[in-house]
Symmetry: C2
Subunit: 155 residues, 2 copies
Amino acid sequence: MPAELLTIGQVAARSGVAPSALRYYESLGLIASTRTAGDRRRYRRAVLRRVAVIRAAQRVGLSLEEIGEAFSIVEPEAAPTKEQWGRMSARWRPVIDQRIADLERVREDLTSCIGCGCLSLQTCRLYNPDDVLAADGSGSRRLFPDEPDHQEHLA
Amino acid sequence: MPAELLTIGQVAARSGVAPSALRYYESLGLIASTRTAGDRRRYRRAVLRRVAVIRAAQRVGLSLEEIGEAFSIVEPEAAPTKEQWGRMSARWRPVIDQRIADLERVREDLTSCIGCGCLSLQTCRLYNPDDVLAADGSGSRRLFPDEPDHQEHLA
DNA sequence: GGGAAACATCAAGTGAGCTTGAGGTCGGGG
DNA sequence: CCCCGACCTCAAGCTCACTTGATGTTTCCC
């Protein structure tokens, strides 16, 4: 327990992310570690920041792959420089803004539908939304995919 | 194509949700249908509203199971009454508000971290967040789970 | 009335993001 | 010196929300 490097257990405890998840992130190249002679992982403190950024980005709805792409501009294994950080957040900002706008619209629709008495009508946006998914392939769906437009409406 | 009842294909076209997904929702009890003599599904128009509500709730980050719970207060197979709708949206509003607040915080953290020069410091909220996950079992994680608090911080 | 859509069921597959388990290694305290 | 717990790898399992495919039935239209 010197000071400089953290064990996986310590990183887990301090970040709240399970060791298995940290190994998984590492397998994806999202974080990096050095190894001891006995093959144990040792993490630099900067990994805590990276993990925090990963969790924050997930909350925004980004996949680990997208996060990895954004990380490709910062050097692995170190804290981002101010400039790199700036580029990353510039990249994510519009995504966050969009997500917030989406949710605000859902909230608005939900609320206005109560007041407007549109429950049985077809003019309601919730009833007759203009953002709709088209079938587009296989596999699971992102929770908040970029929904392609689709024009087919009610009658 | 009389008028009253919709086929699964029509519901799919009008809601933008694939037929297979509609059958899946039905298997979970989220929507209901009657059957023709030949065992084909027939949906009442109200199902369009329900499907729209389901998609909206998913956008907010609710699982289909949670959506089903919320639906348990409205009669299956019919459009919600104004009162039921009110209860549902009252139930979801705080969740939406919370999600929006979370995202705004991430955005704020991202932005302020650029300006504040905290990149190498430990006072930064992103670096030293107070919302952290504890290990809690198996399986996949919700994209935006209710994160239990966890107090273990840096040093 | 005949053929092609559209629909039915059911089992199995998909992808993301992890966890769990088996089986073995490392390292610090008593 | 020995033991326990933390750690290692790798393969397999799991959840969620669907889709795909196989196989069979209905229905609409000409």
